[in-house]
Amino acid sequence: MIAAYLVLSIPFAGILFFAFAGHRQETGRLNVRFNAVTLAATVWLVINVLNNGTLLSAGKAFIVDSFNVYLIVLTAFIGLTTAIFSAPYMEHEKQLGKLTEKRLKLYYSMYQGFMLAMYLVLTTNNMGVMWVAMEGATLATVLLVSLYRTPESIEAAWKYFILCGVGIAQALFGTILLYYAAVQIGDGDNALLWSVLFDNARQLNPEILEIAFVFMLIGYGTKIGLVPLHNWLPDAHSEGPTPMSAVLSGLLLNDALYAVVRNKMLVDGATQGNLAGLLMMGFGLLSFLVAALFLHRQKDIKRLFSYSSIEHMGVMTFAFGMGGPLATFAALLHMTVHSLTKSAIFVTVGHAAQLAGTQNMERIRGLIKTQPKIGWGLLIGTVAIAGFPPFGVFTSEFLVLLATMHSYPWLAPLLLLGIGVAFAGLFRHIQPMVYGENPEGQLPIKANLWPVMVHLALVLWLGLAIPDFLANWFSQATLLISGSMPL
Amino acid sequence: MNWLLAVIQTLLFVALAPLLSGWLKWCKCHLQNRKAPSLLQPYRDLLKLIRKQPVVAEHASWIFTRSPYIIFSAMVLAASVVPLIAVDLPTAASADVIVLVGFFAFARFFLALAGLDIGTAFGGMGASREMTISSLAEPAMLMAVFTLTMTASTTNLSLAITHVLNEGLVLRPSFIFAMFALILVAIAETGRVPVDNPTTHLELTMIHEAMILEYSGRHLALIEWASQLKLMLYGVLIANIFLPWGIARDFSLHALGYGLLAVSGKLAVLAIMLAISETLVAKMRLFRVQEYLSFAYLLGLLGMLSHIILEASR
């Protein structure tokens, strides 16, 4: 369990360190190191969990089971690679005069703060604390969204703040209802602990839990970006600094979904029905289809990919909602590959925008000509996210489709329609950017594309073969969530 | 022995083709109140052409000079598979009626290429029109042929004819339709009135002649001979498929002679009918040809349908 504490305390130290001593030249590199150490700690945690099964800290404040441990590693990994990307990126922004030293300090400090909130969401055993951490994540990032202080960024940050704040307040109401249901059957102090709730789920009042779940779904669903609660998401993603977009898309959305799934497990246990699942499916499918259509109308490259994030979150929500081992497995896999791919894409998008000096897609042209690595990175990343094999996104979408065919065959055409429309929406914008002649005076920039390559390589690997330990891990998580092993 | 007979029949075919043309011309002249040339005139023309040194356009390539040989031998091969005076000859098995159509296509392909080779407008025009008409004629022809082959359940001409012979006189509506279709196709494919006029060099109407405008000497002879062969092939097809009586079924001299006589008679009658129609009918505009050929196709289709509905329904 020490590992879990380490995972939490390193970012905490990071916040303090950067807040008070974050004005040095090599801050970016230090940020990388903080994240690297955290990653090491999470690996240790993994080894612990793999050896001992579910870990419960003394006092039951924290729980690490097969479901969240892999999200923890994923979080740490993407945190690290994004930090690697962000160091030269932010330096470049500073040189352009877009940012001051002070804001960089804020940025790095809040980067750690965000990571801390994420780890806390994942590790905590207390549903209330989970809520607190989720709100904390909003608070940590809201100033980062408005980091550039442009009117648009302030507008985006305000919307992010208000919509997520109001949204998440609903989740708190849901949590209170949950607590209310829990105190009726047991002791008060431990009543919000997930491990306790899960064990006693059958005794909870199903009606209350259903109402509570609605609040949770609306609340955390706002964070996931489910249509029609998604409106803050494209704004916040497009106006903040790109590394922020990468972690928001790659991590925050996942963790919000994680919270929803945890709650769904409770509701399923209590109601023995499928209402929660059906709600999730509905929201997921709606988000998926609407976001796919939105892709066609985008002009800003980061907005484009944030809608793509909504779309993929829709798929995952749908899959988790469908339940069943196959869909759950697929959703878990999709979480992983989507995070990896999307954060890789945002890295290349950031570079592309720096290269062209704009986020307006109509003015980004000929990336492959100017800087082949960036162009190819973006192109391959898009191919991957659009669900082409042999990348992992395909695998997960394939499994989702298959599960849909098994359980709800008449929904499968809708799903396919969405995939097709989304693909067209993405590619009609991406292709002109990477191909063709480059505008005059567009010069290569200094870029670190290792994170992109590593991410895409991992996604490729997951598409070709899921390594045994990971498969085992996913299967354990599937077992935990859905109650049975995939096939 | 059989093989020898096959070769002899083929040679006979080749040898008789100009005669049929001569006979046709003779009939036509008489019908039009003109003085007819000798029946042997086509032979004399061919001989004269063969003796002459050919004149070839400067930029003609090997396609132009070799095409006549290819076209001629394609026609000879076609002649080898069509039973003229006897059925059951071994060559008939080497190629069936579809291959026969293939031979025609082969010849046409090179004829059109030769037309294009010189680079004159006429050549191109002829090639274009020839390919157009043949494209339309081919389905009509196959429709007619299919009617026959489905009745006989074979595409082997020789066997099909035997089948018709064995059945004796059966009045098949399908055959009537198919025969008319085939006749219409034959007229179009051999470049007769009303589709094309073999005797004219009016530039706006010519098709076949436009392609061979540059040919001379032995090349022209081969091409002319080939087209005479084609005419005779179609004639024999019509005569021997639909009215096969008289054809030799064994290889006795008697039977063969009788067969020769029979086929000559049938061809002579067909030629007279063609001559009459050519005298009575005017050549039609190029873009009316499609209607003409659609009608042929329709007949073929009707033949097919009546075979299916009236004759073989289960």
Binding site: V214, L279, L416, P486 | L77, L113, T120, M143, M150
Partner: protein
């Protein structure tokens, strides 16, 4: 050693070729490695010489294509081995999903398509080095071309090996995506980008349909392996849905009308050897998919499906060739002609299915055989023609048929080889294209055994349509060959054109042309091998396929129909030889006199008087006017007093595909309109957004309280 070894090796070699191409810009790295190695073992490095700055790119390219060629050879080897081995070989590869490793199965059908791919790849690898030399490295990096070529070939081979739906889809999409990058290779041209996008979009849609098709099967079975899918017991309704989905997916890839539109856009813009692979081979992989799905996985074929295939095939065949005829761009024309040939294949497959469903497996085997043989033949001659088109583009710097002419004198070898391709594709006797069409006709003519009157009348009609197609194809390729190679040169480039110098490029053409002729004369060789496929798929063989001897082709029985190409060839040789010898005996007239062509007395015959492509096809345009969207305009420049004199006339002709305005544009408009509609929900006003949350919450609460 199993026959899978060469198959795996073929895949690996094509991968290796792709990876090797990535080394294009790694010369310094390799050099330093070699130097380090050399320092340790002096005097043992033959490789260092290859790394010289000047020779490295050439050597690398050659090495890449050598690897590709080896892959092709191995594919041919594996394919032949599979065709002679009586049963399928299966294997598993430890990749894929944890509970579903990649299943591999190599049977006669896969083997046959391996053979097709192998031959094409060999030709391409011989042709490639000479062809890619023309590309500037900065503009068109070889690394990209080589990498994706390797992946493309590997993808196609893997599709054939796949024995579970998941692996199949991965391989399938690998093939699609890799070829997308190849289509987009020369991306400076906006038209190319557009074509590439369209291609990828259609590939995606098709793939989704296939996935759904597999999904239907998998929904009723307990696994994704083909074995499990074969066992599925589907109701007719579900089976029909699966069939339609598969048809949509594979048909889209194969390019049947009306979902063919990507094909004439995408195939021409890729480099020619890639076009050859795409048009010649990739479409066949789609055919393979359809056969595998409909004849192997779907247990009980329905005759209605056969009718669908037949009708779609007929439409594609006719539509394809009519569109091809109107194209002024050679590669577009060839691409449309691929649509035609795929149509023919689909027709025959439809016949096979009809016979199979009606309980005549032997006739079904005949149809299947004809379809497969046509696929094989089409691969040969289409490859030949595309590679030839590449040479033309190389030498004439254009693909516009109307700007060529007279090349037969300037490029004698190419023209001869191209002629063979044209003759094969026009299905003239003695060449391979004829054999498969002949078999197709023979299949259609067996209709008499059927009871169903509709079928009995439908099939002959479609056979007549096939005849029309063949005749139109001949017309089309007369135009192609005549306008490109015959007549007078129509442009300066074609006047200056010369025979291609690279031996390899010509060798590739010779190889393919030789095969076209060889299999035109000895079709029995391949048909015999194809019997293995029919046996494994349908469980029936043709009793008389190689009746009498290898000389004769008699698919049903000798009484029914027979064709002996070798005898025909002998006959042609004798007849031609004899006439040739006989007519040229006379030494006086043996030589020919050359003189100017007749010019109607106007004087000065010039190239502009020749028939152009649009002139040649004018009669067809009139007759089949409804098939195209024709935009014909004649502009007259008037001058002089009161503008009465015509100074110049401009003729402009645009021929467009009907499926654009009828099918694609409505869909595109629909999506844009839907997106605009959806866009309205995002107004930018935060109060509206809050309203959404509020309403959602209320509605959801109401829903749960119900």
């Amino acid at each position: 050693m199993t026959i899978l070894m060469p198959a795996y090796a073929a895949v690996l070699f094509s991968f290796a070729s792709g990876l090797l191409a990535l080394m294009t810009h790694r010369r310094p790295l390799l050099e330093s490695l070699c130097l380090r190695y050399a320092a340790r073992f002096p005097g043992r490095i033959p490789l260092v010489g290859l790394l010289e700055e000047s020779r490295y790119p050439i050597r690398l390219r050659q090495a890449v294509f050598v690897l590709l060629g080896i892959s092709g050879l191995l594919a041919v080897l594996a394919g032949s081995a599979a065709l002679v081995s009586p049963s399928a070989v299966t294997d598993q590869i430890g990749l894929g999903l944890p509970w579903l490793p990649w299943h591999v199965r190599f049977d006669g059908l896969s083997g046959f398509f391996f053979l097709i791919i192998g031959i094409a790849v060999i030709a391409v690898s011989v042709y490639g080095p000479g062809y890619v030399r023309a590309y500037q490295e900065e503009k068109h990096p070889f690394a990209v071309l080589g990498l994706f070529t390797g992946l493309f070939v590997a993808g196609m081979l893997l599709v054939l090996l796949a024995d579970d739906a998941f692996f199949f889809m991965i391989a399938w999409e690998l093939m699609s995506v890799a070829s997308y990058f190849l289509v987009a290779f020369q991306h400076e041209n906006p038209a190319n980008r557009r074509a590439a996008f369209l291609y990828l979009l259609m590939a995606e849609v098709g793939a989704l349909a296939i996935i759904l098709g597999f999904g239907v099967l998998a929904g009723f079975s307990d696994g994704l392996t083909f074995d499990a899918l074969r066992q599925t017991n589907l109701s007719t309704g579900w089976a029909s849905i699966a069939f339609v989905l598969a048809l949509l997916g594979f048909g889209m890839k194969a390019g049947i009308v009306p979902i063919h539109v990507w094909l004439p856009e995408a195939h021409p813009v890729a480099p020619s050897h890639i076009s050859a692979l795409m048009s010649g081979v990739m479409l066949k992989v789609a055919v393979y998919g359809l056969i595998r799905f409909c004849f192997d996985l779907l247990a009980d074929a329905q005759w209605q499906w056969g009718v669908v295939l037949l009708v779609l095939g007929t439409i594609s065949a006719l539509g394809g060739i009519l569109y091809a005829m109107m194209q002024p761009n050679l590669k577009r024309l060839l691409a449309y002609s691929s649509v035609e040939n795929i149509g023919i294949i689909f027709m025959v497959l439809g016949l096979a299915m009809i016979f199979l469903a009606n309980g005549f497996p032997q006739l079904a085997a005949l149809g299947l055989l004809a379809a497969l043989l046509h696929a094989f033949n089409h691969a040969l001659f289409k490859n030949l023609l595309f590679l030839g088109a590449g040479i033309l583009q190389h030498q004439v710097h254009s693909l516009d048929i109307d700007s060529m002419g007279g090349l037969i004198k300037r490029m004698p070898q190419t023209s001869f080889l191209f002629l063979i391709g044209c003759m094969s594709i026009s299905s003239l006797p003695l060449f391979n294209g004829f054999v498969s069409e002949w078999l197709a006709f023979q299949t259609a003519l067996q209709v008499d055994v059927l009871d169903n009157g509709v079928l009995r009348s439908l099939i002959p009609v479609s056979a007549a349509a096939l005849a029309l197609t063949a005749a139109l194809a001949a017309a089309c390729f007369v135009k192609v060959f005549g306008l490109i190679f015959l007549g007078l040169p129509r442009s300066r480039h074609s006047e200056k054109a010369q025979e291609v110098e690279d031996k390899g490029m010509l060798l590739a053409l010779k190889l393919l042309a030789g095969l076209c002729f060889f299999f035109g004369i000895f079709p029995t060789l391949i048909i015999g091998a194809l019997n293995t496929v029919a046996k494994q798929l349908i469980g029936q063989v043709l009793p008389n396929a190689t009746l009498l001897s290898w000389m004769w082709l008699a698919p049903v029985s000798a009484q029914n129909a027979s064709y002996s190409p070798i005898l025909v060839l002998i006959g042609v040789l004798i007849a031609t030889g004899f006439t040739f010898w006989y007519l040229r005996r006379n030494p006086d007239t043996k030589t020919m006199r050359r003189s100017a062509a007749w010019d109607c007395g106007f004087g000065g015959l010039n190239a502009r008087m020749q028939y152009s492509s649009s002139a040649f096809t004018m009669p067809f345009r009139r007759i089949f006017a409804k098939v195209w969207l024709i935009d014909e305009q004649i502009d007259k420049d008037m001058q002089g007093a009161q503008d009465m004199d015509v100074a110049a006339i401009h003729y402009r002709l645009q021929v467009q595909d009907h499926s654009w305005p009828k099918l694609y544009q409505p869909i595109a408009h629909g999506i844009n309109a839907a997106a605009r509609l959806v866009g309205r929900i995002q107004t930018g006003n935060i109060r509206v957004y809050l309203g959404y949350s509020f309403v959602t919450l209320i509605v959801m609460l109401w829903v749960v309280s119900l």
